[in-house]
Protein backbone atom coordinates (compact mmCIF):
# COMPACT_ATOMS: atom_id res chain seq x y z
CA UNK A 1 0.00 0.00 0.00
CA UNK A 2 2.72 2.43 1.00
CA UNK A 3 4.73 1.34 -1.98
CA UNK A 4 1.75 1.92 -4.25
CA UNK A 5 1.24 5.34 -2.75
CA UNK A 6 4.86 6.36 -3.03
CA UNK A 7 4.90 5.19 -6.61
CA UNK A 8 1.76 7.13 -7.37
CA UNK A 9 3.20 10.14 -5.60
CA UNK A 10 6.44 9.79 -7.53
CA UNK A 11 4.63 9.75 -10.84
CA UNK A 12 2.58 12.78 -9.90
CA UNK A 13 5.72 14.61 -8.87
CA UNK A 14 7.46 13.64 -12.10
CA UNK A 15 4.49 14.80 -14.14
CA UNK A 16 4.42 18.09 -12.31
CA UNK A 17 8.13 18.59 -12.82
CA UNK A 18 7.85 17.83 -16.52
CA UNK A 19 5.01 20.28 -16.91
CA UNK A 20 7.05 22.95 -15.14
CA UNK A 21 9.98 22.25 -17.47
CA UNK A 22 7.80 22.47 -20.56
CA UNK A 23 6.31 25.72 -19.28
CA UNK A 24 9.78 27.18 -18.76
CA UNK A 25 10.99 26.02 -22.15
CA UNK A 26 7.99 27.45 -23.97
CA UNK A 27 7.70 30.69 -22.01
CA UNK A 28 9.81 32.89 -24.33
CA UNK A 29 8.28 31.28 -27.41
CA UNK A 30 4.79 32.06 -26.15
CA UNK A 31 5.71 35.67 -25.42
CA UNK A 32 7.38 35.95 -28.79
CA UNK A 33 4.37 34.68 -30.72
CA UNK A 34 1.89 36.68 -28.63
CA UNK A 35 3.61 40.00 -29.27
CA UNK A 36 3.90 39.32 -32.97
CA UNK A 37 0.16 40.08 -32.95
CA UNK A 38 0.68 43.32 -31.01
CA UNK A 39 -1.39 46.23 -32.30
CA UNK A 40 1.05 49.09 -31.82
CA UNK A 41 4.64 50.00 -32.50
CA UNK A 42 5.96 48.66 -29.22
CA UNK A 43 6.28 44.91 -28.76
CA UNK A 44 6.08 45.36 -24.99
CA UNK A 45 3.39 44.53 -22.45
CA UNK A 46 0.48 45.24 -22.09
CA UNK A 47 -0.85 43.33 -25.08
CA UNK A 48 -3.14 45.08 -27.55
CA UNK A 49 -4.53 43.38 -30.57
CA UNK A 50 -4.46 41.01 -32.21
CA UNK A 51 -3.39 42.25 -35.62
CA UNK A 52 -1.64 40.63 -38.56
CA UNK A 53 -0.12 43.87 -39.78
CA UNK A 54 3.44 42.99 -38.67
CA UNK A 55 3.35 39.73 -40.59
CA UNK A 56 2.47 41.68 -43.71
CA UNK A 57 5.28 44.17 -43.06
CA UNK A 58 7.81 41.41 -42.39
CA UNK A 59 6.91 39.53 -45.56
CA UNK A 60 7.12 42.79 -47.51
CA UNK A 61 10.51 43.73 -46.01
CA UNK A 62 13.12 43.36 -48.76
CA UNK A 63 16.07 43.06 -46.42
CA UNK A 64 14.42 40.38 -44.32
CA UNK A 65 13.49 38.40 -47.40
CA UNK A 66 17.01 38.79 -48.83
CA UNK A 67 18.39 37.53 -45.51
CA UNK A 68 15.98 34.61 -45.61
CA UNK A 69 17.13 33.72 -49.12
CA UNK A 70 20.79 34.04 -48.15
CA UNK A 71 20.27 31.85 -45.10
CA UNK A 72 18.59 29.17 -47.20
CA UNK A 73 21.47 29.19 -49.71
CA UNK A 74 24.18 29.22 -47.04
CA UNK A 75 22.39 26.47 -45.12
CA UNK A 76 21.89 24.24 -48.13
CA UNK A 77 25.36 24.67 -49.64
CA UNK A 78 27.28 24.44 -46.38
CA UNK A 79 25.29 21.41 -45.21
CA UNK A 80 25.72 19.63 -48.55
CA UNK A 81 29.46 20.28 -48.48
CA UNK A 82 29.66 19.22 -44.82
CA UNK A 83 27.86 15.94 -45.47
CA UNK A 84 29.86 15.21 -48.63
CA UNK A 85 33.26 15.87 -47.01
CA UNK A 86 32.23 14.25 -43.74
CA UNK A 87 30.93 11.16 -45.52
CA UNK A 88 34.08 10.69 -47.61
CA UNK A 89 36.34 11.16 -44.61
CA UNK A 90 34.25 8.77 -42.50
CA UNK A 91 34.37 6.16 -45.26
CA UNK A 92 38.13 6.51 -45.58
CA UNK A 93 38.60 6.08 -41.86
CA UNK A 94 36.08 3.26 -41.41
CA UNK A 95 37.21 1.15 -44.36
CA UNK A 96 40.94 1.61 -44.71
CA UNK A 97 43.82 1.19 -42.38
CA UNK A 98 46.58 3.73 -42.72
CA UNK A 99 49.05 5.31 -40.34
CA UNK A 100 47.80 8.26 -38.32
CA UNK A 101 44.18 7.24 -38.74
CA UNK A 102 43.30 7.72 -35.08
CA UNK A 103 45.04 11.07 -34.90
CA UNK A 104 43.31 12.18 -38.08
CA UNK A 105 39.95 11.20 -36.65
CA UNK A 106 40.63 13.25 -33.52
CA UNK A 107 41.85 16.18 -35.61
CA UNK A 108 38.76 16.21 -37.83
CA UNK A 109 36.39 16.54 -34.86
CA UNK A 110 38.51 19.19 -33.15
CA UNK A 111 36.38 22.15 -34.34
CA UNK A 112 33.52 20.73 -32.23
CA UNK A 113 35.52 21.55 -29.12
CA UNK A 114 36.05 25.26 -29.78
CA UNK A 115 33.67 28.21 -29.62
CA UNK A 116 32.08 29.63 -32.72
CA UNK A 117 33.63 32.93 -31.68
CA UNK A 118 37.11 31.46 -32.14
CA UNK A 119 36.29 30.13 -35.61
CA UNK A 120 34.72 33.45 -36.62
CA UNK A 121 37.69 35.38 -35.23
CA UNK A 122 40.09 33.10 -37.11
CA UNK A 123 38.32 33.74 -40.40
CA UNK A 124 38.15 37.47 -39.70
CA UNK A 125 41.87 37.63 -38.95
CA UNK A 126 42.54 35.66 -42.15
CA UNK A 127 40.41 38.06 -44.20
CA UNK A 128 42.21 40.98 -42.64
CA UNK A 129 45.69 39.50 -43.13
CA UNK A 130 45.13 38.84 -46.82
CA UNK A 131 43.13 42.01 -47.48
CA UNK A 132 40.02 40.07 -48.53
CA UNK A 133 36.51 41.46 -48.33
CA UNK A 134 33.93 39.91 -46.01
CA UNK A 135 31.33 37.92 -47.95
CA UNK A 136 28.58 35.36 -47.78
CA UNK A 137 31.01 32.74 -49.14
CA UNK A 138 33.07 33.07 -45.97
CA UNK A 139 29.96 32.17 -43.97
CA UNK A 140 29.67 28.95 -46.02
CA UNK A 141 33.34 28.25 -45.29
CA UNK A 142 32.85 28.83 -41.56
CA UNK A 143 29.69 26.75 -41.40
CA UNK A 144 31.42 23.82 -43.09
CA UNK A 145 34.16 24.08 -40.46
CA UNK A 146 31.61 23.79 -37.64
CA UNK A 147 29.29 21.26 -39.30
CA UNK A 148 31.57 18.93 -41.23
CA UNK A 149 32.99 17.33 -38.03
CA UNK A 150 29.44 16.68 -36.91
CA UNK A 151 28.43 15.05 -40.19
CA UNK A 152 31.68 13.06 -40.07
CA UNK A 153 30.94 11.73 -36.57
CA UNK A 154 27.34 10.83 -37.41
CA UNK A 155 28.25 8.99 -40.60
CA UNK A 156 31.22 7.21 -39.00
CA UNK A 157 28.88 5.86 -36.31
CA UNK A 158 26.66 4.37 -39.01
CA UNK A 159 29.34 2.69 -41.11
CA UNK A 160 29.10 -0.72 -39.46
CA UNK A 161 30.14 -4.25 -40.19
CA UNK A 162 26.83 -5.10 -41.84
CA UNK A 163 27.35 -2.98 -44.97
CA UNK A 164 30.98 -4.01 -45.06
CA UNK A 165 30.16 -7.60 -46.07
CA UNK A 166 27.93 -6.38 -48.85
CA UNK A 167 30.72 -4.12 -50.04
CA UNK A 168 33.15 -7.04 -50.13
CA UNK A 169 30.65 -9.11 -52.04
CA UNK A 170 30.16 -6.36 -54.58
CA UNK A 171 33.90 -5.89 -54.93
CA UNK A 172 34.38 -9.58 -55.56
CA UNK A 173 31.82 -9.28 -58.32
CA UNK A 174 34.00 -6.59 -59.89
CA UNK A 175 32.20 -3.40 -58.90
CA UNK A 176 34.34 -0.25 -58.76
CA UNK A 177 34.69 1.68 -55.53
CA UNK A 178 32.71 4.59 -56.93
CA UNK A 179 29.93 2.21 -57.86
CA UNK A 180 30.01 0.53 -54.46
CA UNK A 181 29.76 3.91 -52.79
CA UNK A 182 26.84 5.07 -54.87
CA UNK A 183 24.80 1.87 -55.09
CA UNK A 184 25.47 0.23 -51.73
CA UNK A 185 26.95 2.49 -49.08
CA UNK A 186 24.97 5.66 -49.74
CA UNK A 187 21.54 3.98 -49.93
CA UNK A 188 22.27 1.94 -46.80
CA UNK A 189 23.21 4.93 -44.68
CA UNK A 190 20.86 7.38 -46.39
CA UNK A 191 18.90 8.03 -43.16
CA UNK A 192 22.13 9.01 -41.39
CA UNK A 193 23.12 11.24 -44.30
CA UNK A 194 19.72 12.94 -44.30
CA UNK A 195 19.78 13.32 -40.52
CA UNK A 196 23.29 14.81 -40.71
CA UNK A 197 22.18 17.21 -43.43
CA UNK A 198 19.17 18.34 -41.39
CA UNK A 199 21.24 18.87 -38.26
CA UNK A 200 23.88 20.83 -40.19
CA UNK A 201 21.18 22.91 -41.84
CA UNK A 202 19.55 23.70 -38.50
CA UNK A 203 22.83 24.81 -36.97
CA UNK A 204 23.80 26.87 -40.01
CA UNK A 205 20.36 28.43 -40.19
CA UNK A 206 20.53 29.82 -36.66
CA UNK A 207 24.25 30.62 -36.47
CA UNK A 208 24.88 34.27 -35.70
CA UNK A 209 28.43 35.03 -34.59
CA UNK A 210 30.44 33.70 -37.54
CA UNK A 211 27.96 35.19 -40.00
CA UNK A 212 28.11 38.51 -38.20
CA UNK A 213 31.91 38.65 -38.20
CA UNK A 214 32.62 37.68 -41.80
CA UNK A 215 29.85 39.41 -43.77
CA UNK A 216 29.23 42.99 -44.80
CA UNK A 217 26.14 43.65 -46.95
CA UNK A 218 24.83 40.26 -48.02
CA UNK A 219 23.98 38.83 -44.65
CA UNK A 220 22.09 35.87 -43.25
CA UNK A 221 18.74 36.07 -41.49
CA UNK A 222 20.05 36.08 -37.89
CA UNK A 223 22.27 39.04 -38.76
CA UNK A 224 19.36 40.90 -40.38
CA UNK A 225 17.29 40.28 -37.26
CA UNK A 226 20.15 41.48 -35.06
CA UNK A 227 20.45 44.67 -37.11
CA UNK A 228 16.67 45.18 -36.91
CA UNK A 229 16.78 44.74 -33.14
CA UNK A 230 19.39 47.47 -32.94
CA UNK A 231 17.47 49.63 -35.38
CA UNK A 232 14.49 50.35 -33.18
CA UNK A 233 11.71 48.48 -31.43
CA UNK A 234 9.54 46.68 -33.88
CA UNK A 235 7.04 43.80 -33.65
CA UNK A 236 8.25 42.73 -37.11
CA UNK A 237 11.08 40.92 -35.35
CA UNK A 238 8.50 38.89 -33.41
CA UNK A 239 6.60 38.15 -36.59
CA UNK A 240 9.76 36.87 -38.28
CA UNK A 241 10.61 34.74 -35.26
CA UNK A 242 7.13 33.23 -35.27
CA UNK A 243 7.28 32.54 -39.00
CA UNK A 244 10.66 30.81 -38.62
CA UNK A 245 9.28 28.77 -35.73
CA UNK A 246 6.23 27.64 -37.67
CA UNK A 247 8.30 26.86 -40.75
CA UNK A 248 10.85 24.89 -38.74
CA UNK A 249 8.19 22.81 -36.99
CA UNK A 250 6.71 21.98 -40.36
CA UNK A 251 10.12 20.99 -41.71
CA UNK A 252 11.04 18.91 -38.67
CA UNK A 253 7.65 17.16 -38.74
CA UNK A 254 8.02 16.37 -42.44
CA UNK A 255 11.51 14.98 -42.04
CA UNK A 256 10.42 12.97 -39.00
CA UNK A 257 7.46 11.56 -40.88
CA UNK A 258 9.60 10.66 -43.89
CA UNK A 259 12.38 9.00 -41.89
CA UNK A 260 10.11 7.46 -39.32
CA UNK A 261 7.65 6.19 -41.88
CA UNK A 262 10.46 4.55 -43.84
CA UNK A 263 11.84 2.80 -40.80
CA UNK A 264 8.45 1.29 -40.04
CA UNK A 265 7.88 0.07 -43.57
Amino acid sequence: MIRFFSRYFGTALATLYMLACYAFIFLPVGVLVLFSFQDGRLPVPPFHGPTLVWYGRALGNDRLMAGLGNSLIVGAVSSALSVLLGFLAAYGIARYIFPGRRALQAFLVLPLAVSYLLIGMGLLVTLSAFGLSPSLEMVVVGHVVINMPLAFAIVLAQLGEHQRRMEWAARDLGASTARILLTIVVPLIAPALIAAFCLCFTLSWDEFLISFLVTRFDVTLPVVIWTMLRGGLNPQTNAVGSIIFAGSILLVATVEALLFGKRRA
Binding site: G40, R41, L42, V44, P45, N61, D62, R63, V77, L81, L84, L85, L88, G92, L124, L127, S128, G131, S133, P134, S135, L136, E137, V140, V141, R171, G174, S176, T177, A178, L181, R216, F217, D218, T227, L229, R230, G231, G232, L233, N234
Partner: protein, 361 residues
Protein backbone atom coordinates in the same frame (compact mmCIF):
# COMPACT_ATOMS: atom_id res chain seq x y z
CA UNK B 1 38.89 -7.16 -62.69
CA UNK B 2 40.30 -3.64 -62.48
CA UNK B 3 42.93 -3.03 -59.89
CA UNK B 4 41.26 -1.95 -56.67
CA UNK B 5 44.08 0.52 -56.20
CA UNK B 6 43.13 2.39 -59.37
CA UNK B 7 39.41 2.46 -58.69
CA UNK B 8 39.89 3.63 -55.13
CA UNK B 9 42.04 6.54 -56.10
CA UNK B 10 39.55 7.27 -58.86
CA UNK B 11 36.80 7.62 -56.28
CA UNK B 12 39.02 9.77 -54.15
CA UNK B 13 39.89 11.87 -57.16
CA UNK B 14 36.16 12.32 -57.68
CA UNK B 15 35.91 13.54 -54.14
CA UNK B 16 38.69 16.03 -54.68
CA UNK B 17 36.96 17.21 -57.84
CA UNK B 18 33.81 17.74 -55.81
CA UNK B 19 35.78 19.85 -53.36
CA UNK B 20 37.27 21.92 -56.15
CA UNK B 21 33.83 22.30 -57.71
CA UNK B 22 32.51 23.50 -54.36
CA UNK B 23 35.24 26.12 -54.04
CA UNK B 24 34.80 27.12 -57.68
CA UNK B 25 31.09 27.59 -57.10
CA UNK B 26 31.84 29.97 -54.28
CA UNK B 27 34.22 31.99 -56.39
CA UNK B 28 31.88 32.12 -59.37
CA UNK B 29 28.74 32.82 -57.36
CA UNK B 30 30.13 36.09 -55.98
CA UNK B 31 27.09 38.19 -56.67
CA UNK B 32 27.42 40.44 -59.68
CA UNK B 33 24.87 43.16 -59.16
CA UNK B 34 22.93 44.34 -62.13
CA UNK B 35 22.02 47.40 -60.13
CA UNK B 36 24.37 50.07 -59.02
CA UNK B 37 25.13 50.22 -55.32
CA UNK B 38 26.02 52.95 -52.88
CA UNK B 39 27.86 51.76 -49.79
CA UNK B 40 27.07 53.75 -46.69
CA UNK B 41 28.61 53.53 -43.24
CA UNK B 42 25.94 54.90 -40.94
CA UNK B 43 24.10 55.14 -37.66
CA UNK B 44 20.91 53.07 -37.55
CA UNK B 45 18.56 55.95 -38.42
CA UNK B 46 19.51 55.83 -42.12
CA UNK B 47 18.43 52.21 -42.44
CA UNK B 48 14.71 52.93 -42.50
CA UNK B 49 13.28 51.67 -45.81
CA UNK B 50 10.89 54.66 -45.77
CA UNK B 51 13.92 56.94 -45.96
CA UNK B 52 16.04 54.97 -48.45
CA UNK B 53 13.23 53.71 -50.69
CA UNK B 54 12.54 56.92 -52.66
CA UNK B 55 16.25 57.51 -53.32
CA UNK B 56 16.82 53.90 -54.39
CA UNK B 57 13.88 54.09 -56.78
CA UNK B 58 14.70 57.47 -58.27
CA UNK B 59 18.33 56.55 -59.00
CA UNK B 60 17.89 52.81 -59.61
CA UNK B 61 20.50 52.11 -56.98
CA UNK B 62 20.68 49.85 -53.97
CA UNK B 63 21.91 51.50 -50.80
CA UNK B 64 24.04 49.05 -48.83
CA UNK B 65 24.59 50.04 -45.23
CA UNK B 66 26.67 48.91 -42.32
CA UNK B 67 25.63 49.87 -38.87
CA UNK B 68 28.01 51.83 -36.61
CA UNK B 69 27.41 53.17 -33.11
CA UNK B 70 30.37 55.51 -32.76
CA UNK B 71 33.11 57.10 -34.83
CA UNK B 72 35.46 54.53 -33.32
CA UNK B 73 33.25 51.78 -34.76
CA UNK B 74 33.39 53.48 -38.17
CA UNK B 75 37.18 53.59 -38.02
CA UNK B 76 37.22 49.89 -37.05
CA UNK B 77 35.13 48.97 -40.09
CA UNK B 78 37.33 51.12 -42.33
CA UNK B 79 40.40 49.38 -40.95
CA UNK B 80 39.00 46.08 -42.20
CA UNK B 81 38.09 47.48 -45.61
CA UNK B 82 39.94 48.28 -48.80
CA UNK B 83 40.12 51.88 -50.04
CA UNK B 84 37.11 52.49 -52.26
CA UNK B 85 34.86 50.06 -50.38
CA UNK B 86 32.79 52.89 -48.96
CA UNK B 87 31.07 55.91 -50.50
CA UNK B 88 29.24 57.82 -47.78
CA UNK B 89 29.81 58.21 -44.05
CA UNK B 90 27.32 59.33 -41.43
CA UNK B 91 29.19 60.27 -38.27
CA UNK B 92 29.29 62.64 -35.34
CA UNK B 93 30.34 65.93 -36.88
CA UNK B 94 32.66 66.67 -34.01
CA UNK B 95 35.04 64.13 -35.57
CA UNK B 96 35.14 65.82 -38.99
CA UNK B 97 38.57 67.32 -38.33
CA UNK B 98 39.99 64.03 -37.13
CA UNK B 99 38.62 62.06 -40.08
CA UNK B 100 39.70 64.70 -42.61
CA UNK B 101 43.12 64.75 -40.94
CA UNK B 102 43.44 61.04 -41.70
CA UNK B 103 42.77 61.88 -45.34
CA UNK B 104 39.56 59.85 -45.33
CA UNK B 105 37.12 62.53 -46.53
CA UNK B 106 36.62 64.21 -49.88
CA UNK B 107 36.18 68.01 -50.02
CA UNK B 108 32.62 69.11 -50.75
CA UNK B 109 31.18 72.18 -52.44
CA UNK B 110 28.85 74.16 -50.16
CA UNK B 111 26.90 75.35 -53.22
CA UNK B 112 25.57 71.80 -53.71
CA UNK B 113 23.72 71.85 -50.39
CA UNK B 114 20.98 74.04 -48.82
CA UNK B 115 23.20 75.77 -46.27
CA UNK B 116 20.86 78.78 -46.38
CA UNK B 117 18.19 76.72 -44.61
CA UNK B 118 20.44 75.39 -41.84
CA UNK B 119 20.65 77.36 -38.56
CA UNK B 120 24.02 79.10 -38.15
CA UNK B 121 24.93 77.31 -34.93
CA UNK B 122 24.40 73.96 -36.65
CA UNK B 123 26.22 74.92 -39.84
CA UNK B 124 29.21 76.17 -37.83
CA UNK B 125 32.46 75.61 -39.77
CA UNK B 126 34.01 74.42 -36.51
CA UNK B 127 32.12 71.16 -37.03
CA UNK B 128 31.88 70.94 -40.79
CA UNK B 129 35.12 72.29 -42.21
CA UNK B 130 38.89 72.18 -41.83
CA UNK B 131 40.88 75.24 -42.89
CA UNK B 132 37.91 76.58 -44.80
CA UNK B 133 37.36 73.37 -46.77
CA UNK B 134 33.92 71.76 -46.31
CA UNK B 135 34.06 68.03 -45.47
CA UNK B 136 30.75 67.33 -43.78
CA UNK B 137 27.14 68.45 -44.29
CA UNK B 138 25.06 68.66 -41.10
CA UNK B 139 21.88 66.63 -41.35
CA UNK B 140 20.40 65.92 -37.92
CA UNK B 141 20.94 66.88 -34.30
CA UNK B 142 19.50 66.41 -30.85
CA UNK B 143 20.40 66.19 -27.20
CA UNK B 144 21.99 63.89 -24.66
CA UNK B 145 20.39 65.11 -21.48
CA UNK B 146 17.87 63.56 -19.15
CA UNK B 147 14.93 61.53 -20.45
CA UNK B 148 12.40 60.30 -17.94
CA UNK B 149 8.96 58.88 -17.27
CA UNK B 150 6.61 61.67 -16.15
CA UNK B 151 4.51 59.39 -13.94
CA UNK B 152 7.40 58.11 -11.85
CA UNK B 153 10.10 60.77 -12.10
CA UNK B 154 9.60 64.32 -10.91
CA UNK B 155 10.04 67.07 -13.54
CA UNK B 156 11.65 69.26 -10.88
CA UNK B 157 14.20 66.54 -10.17
CA UNK B 158 14.95 66.22 -13.87
CA UNK B 159 15.93 69.87 -13.97
CA UNK B 160 19.01 69.01 -11.95
CA UNK B 161 21.77 67.18 -13.78
CA UNK B 162 22.73 65.40 -10.56
CA UNK B 163 19.36 63.70 -10.03
CA UNK B 164 20.47 60.39 -11.59
CA UNK B 165 23.02 60.13 -8.75
CA UNK B 166 20.31 60.60 -6.11
CA UNK B 167 20.08 57.43 -3.96
CA UNK B 168 16.31 57.92 -4.12
CA UNK B 169 16.43 56.61 -7.69
CA UNK B 170 18.77 53.70 -7.06
CA UNK B 171 17.97 50.90 -9.51
CA UNK B 172 15.71 53.18 -11.54
CA UNK B 173 18.38 54.75 -13.75
CA UNK B 174 19.52 53.64 -17.21
CA UNK B 175 22.79 54.75 -18.80
CA UNK B 176 23.21 55.07 -22.57
CA UNK B 177 26.16 53.02 -23.81
CA UNK B 178 28.02 55.69 -25.77
CA UNK B 179 31.11 56.79 -23.98
CA UNK B 180 31.49 60.19 -25.71
CA UNK B 181 28.29 61.95 -24.57
CA UNK B 182 28.14 60.12 -21.24
CA UNK B 183 31.66 61.16 -20.29
CA UNK B 184 31.05 64.71 -21.46
CA UNK B 185 27.75 64.95 -19.63
CA UNK B 186 29.38 63.68 -16.45
CA UNK B 187 32.04 66.37 -16.86
CA UNK B 188 29.24 68.96 -16.96
CA UNK B 189 27.78 67.48 -13.80
CA UNK B 190 31.19 67.94 -12.20
CA UNK B 191 31.24 71.59 -13.27
CA UNK B 192 34.09 71.09 -15.76
CA UNK B 193 34.33 72.76 -19.13
CA UNK B 194 33.34 69.80 -21.32
CA UNK B 195 35.02 71.20 -24.41
CA UNK B 196 38.45 71.27 -22.80
CA UNK B 197 38.88 67.91 -21.08
CA UNK B 198 42.41 66.69 -20.38
CA UNK B 199 43.99 63.58 -18.90
CA UNK B 200 43.97 65.28 -15.50
CA UNK B 201 40.17 65.39 -15.50
CA UNK B 202 39.74 61.68 -16.13
CA UNK B 203 40.11 60.24 -12.60
CA UNK B 204 37.34 62.48 -11.24
CA UNK B 205 35.07 61.68 -14.20
CA UNK B 206 35.71 57.97 -13.80
CA UNK B 207 34.85 58.04 -10.09
CA UNK B 208 31.66 59.99 -10.82
CA UNK B 209 30.68 57.54 -13.58
CA UNK B 210 31.29 54.55 -11.32
CA UNK B 211 29.04 56.18 -8.73
CA UNK B 212 26.41 56.61 -11.47
CA UNK B 213 26.79 52.97 -12.50
CA UNK B 214 26.22 51.91 -8.89
CA UNK B 215 22.98 53.86 -8.83
CA UNK B 216 21.95 52.55 -12.26
CA UNK B 217 19.91 49.47 -13.12
CA UNK B 218 21.45 48.98 -16.54
CA UNK B 219 23.53 50.27 -19.42
CA UNK B 220 22.42 49.74 -23.00
CA UNK B 221 22.47 50.73 -26.66
CA UNK B 222 19.82 52.87 -28.38
CA UNK B 223 17.15 50.18 -28.62
CA UNK B 224 17.82 48.60 -25.24
CA UNK B 225 17.51 51.82 -23.25
CA UNK B 226 14.46 52.75 -25.31
CA UNK B 227 12.82 49.48 -24.42
CA UNK B 228 13.81 49.77 -20.76
CA UNK B 229 12.28 53.22 -20.48
CA UNK B 230 9.17 52.25 -22.45
CA UNK B 231 8.46 49.11 -20.44
CA UNK B 232 8.95 50.89 -17.12
CA UNK B 233 12.07 48.90 -16.26
CA UNK B 234 13.70 52.25 -15.47
CA UNK B 235 12.36 55.75 -14.80
CA UNK B 236 15.19 57.94 -16.03
CA UNK B 237 17.80 57.71 -18.76
CA UNK B 238 21.11 59.49 -18.30
CA UNK B 239 22.16 60.77 -21.72
CA UNK B 240 18.68 60.37 -23.15
CA UNK B 241 16.84 62.96 -25.20
CA UNK B 242 14.33 63.31 -28.01
CA UNK B 243 16.04 60.38 -29.77
CA UNK B 244 14.59 58.03 -27.17
CA UNK B 245 11.25 59.71 -26.34
CA UNK B 246 10.01 61.35 -29.56
CA UNK B 247 9.56 58.17 -31.59
CA UNK B 248 7.49 56.68 -28.76
CA UNK B 249 5.39 59.81 -28.15
CA UNK B 250 2.20 58.09 -29.32
CA UNK B 251 2.85 54.67 -27.81
CA UNK B 252 3.96 56.01 -24.46
CA UNK B 253 3.05 59.69 -23.97
CA UNK B 254 4.48 59.64 -20.44
CA UNK B 255 8.03 59.79 -21.72
CA UNK B 256 9.65 63.20 -21.59
CA UNK B 257 13.07 64.83 -21.73
CA UNK B 258 14.49 68.05 -20.43
CA UNK B 259 17.69 70.06 -20.45
CA UNK B 260 18.82 70.53 -16.84
CA UNK B 261 19.83 73.93 -15.57
CA UNK B 262 23.52 72.99 -15.71
CA UNK B 263 23.19 72.40 -19.45
CA UNK B 264 23.39 69.42 -21.74
CA UNK B 265 25.22 67.83 -24.61
CA UNK B 266 24.20 68.29 -28.25
CA UNK B 267 24.81 65.54 -30.77
CA UNK B 268 25.05 66.37 -34.41
CA UNK B 269 25.42 64.02 -37.34
CA UNK B 270 26.94 64.98 -40.67
CA UNK B 271 27.23 63.37 -44.07
CA UNK B 272 30.60 63.01 -45.77
CA UNK B 273 31.90 61.46 -48.97
CA UNK B 274 34.93 59.18 -48.75
CA UNK B 275 38.04 60.41 -50.52
CA UNK B 276 38.50 56.99 -52.15
CA UNK B 277 34.87 56.62 -53.29
CA UNK B 278 34.48 55.71 -56.97
CA UNK B 279 30.94 57.09 -56.98
CA UNK B 280 31.34 60.63 -55.73
CA UNK B 281 28.55 62.02 -57.92
CA UNK B 282 26.06 59.48 -56.68
CA UNK B 283 27.28 60.04 -53.12
CA UNK B 284 26.72 63.79 -53.49
CA UNK B 285 23.25 63.06 -54.86
CA UNK B 286 22.55 60.92 -51.81
CA UNK B 287 23.57 63.76 -49.48
CA UNK B 288 21.40 66.15 -51.48
CA UNK B 289 18.47 63.78 -51.11
CA UNK B 290 18.96 63.46 -47.34
CA UNK B 291 19.21 67.27 -47.08
CA UNK B 292 16.07 67.81 -49.21
CA UNK B 293 12.91 68.80 -47.30
CA UNK B 294 11.37 65.33 -47.95
CA UNK B 295 14.53 63.44 -46.98
CA UNK B 296 14.92 65.58 -43.88
CA UNK B 297 11.34 64.90 -42.78
CA UNK B 298 11.83 61.16 -43.11
CA UNK B 299 15.25 61.21 -41.44
CA UNK B 300 13.90 63.26 -38.53
CA UNK B 301 11.22 60.62 -37.88
CA UNK B 302 13.26 57.53 -38.75
CA UNK B 303 12.26 54.27 -37.05
CA UNK B 304 15.51 53.85 -35.12
CA UNK B 305 15.44 57.27 -33.53
CA UNK B 306 13.98 60.71 -34.13
CA UNK B 307 15.98 63.91 -34.12
CA UNK B 308 15.87 67.54 -35.24
CA UNK B 309 16.44 67.94 -38.99
CA UNK B 310 19.26 70.32 -39.88
CA UNK B 311 17.21 71.81 -42.71
CA UNK B 312 14.52 74.05 -41.26
CA UNK B 313 12.36 73.45 -44.37
CA UNK B 314 11.99 69.74 -43.52
CA UNK B 315 8.57 68.35 -44.38
CA UNK B 316 6.98 67.53 -41.04
CA UNK B 317 3.44 67.67 -39.71
CA UNK B 318 2.61 70.14 -36.96
CA UNK B 319 2.17 67.21 -34.62
CA UNK B 320 5.67 65.96 -35.43
CA UNK B 321 7.10 69.45 -34.99
CA UNK B 322 5.49 69.69 -31.55
CA UNK B 323 6.95 66.33 -30.56
CA UNK B 324 10.38 67.52 -31.71
CA UNK B 325 9.87 70.83 -29.82
CA UNK B 326 10.57 72.83 -32.93
CA UNK B 327 10.09 76.23 -31.26
CA UNK B 328 12.35 75.50 -28.27
CA UNK B 329 15.38 74.82 -30.42
CA UNK B 330 17.07 78.22 -30.28
CA UNK B 331 17.11 78.08 -26.45
CA UNK B 332 18.16 74.44 -26.42
CA UNK B 333 21.06 75.05 -28.79
CA UNK B 334 22.28 77.88 -26.57
CA UNK B 335 22.28 75.81 -23.38
CA UNK B 336 24.05 72.75 -24.79
CA UNK B 337 27.63 71.90 -25.72
CA UNK B 338 28.60 70.04 -28.89
CA UNK B 339 30.44 66.70 -28.59
CA UNK B 340 34.02 66.97 -27.42
CA UNK B 341 36.81 66.78 -29.94
CA UNK B 342 39.37 64.07 -29.29
CA UNK B 343 42.75 63.00 -30.56
CA UNK B 344 42.88 59.27 -31.41
CA UNK B 345 45.04 58.74 -28.33
CA UNK B 346 42.56 60.49 -26.01
CA UNK B 347 39.73 58.52 -27.63
CA UNK B 348 41.51 55.27 -26.75
CA UNK B 349 41.91 56.41 -23.15
CA UNK B 350 38.22 57.27 -22.90
CA UNK B 351 37.25 53.88 -24.32
CA UNK B 352 39.45 52.02 -21.84
CA UNK B 353 37.96 54.11 -19.03
CA UNK B 354 34.46 53.32 -20.25
CA UNK B 355 35.19 49.57 -20.25
CA UNK B 356 36.37 49.88 -16.65
CA UNK B 357 33.22 51.78 -15.71
CA UNK B 358 31.03 49.10 -17.32
CA UNK B 359 32.93 46.42 -15.46
CA UNK B 360 32.72 48.16 -12.07
CA UNK B 361 30.36 46.73 -9.51
Amino acid sequence: MTSPCRTDTKAARGALLALIAGVAWMVVSTPAFARNTLDVLTWCDHEDPALLGPFEKANDVKVNFKDIDSTAAALAVLGQSKPGDWDVLVADETDTGRLAGLGLLAPLDAKDFPFGDIPTAIASPKLTSVNGVLYSVPEKFGYNTIAYNKTTFDAAAAADINSPWDPKYKGRVAVYDYYVPEIEYTAIALGMNPEKLTDADLPAIKAKLIALKQNAAMVGDVTTVQQALATGAVDVLFGGGEWVTAGLAHDNPNLNYTIPKQGGVRWQQGLSVFATSQKKDLATKFIQYILSPEGQGKLATSSCYWGMPANSKAVLTDDQKTILRWSDQPTYIKTTFPYLQMTPDFDKKLQAMWAEVLQSK
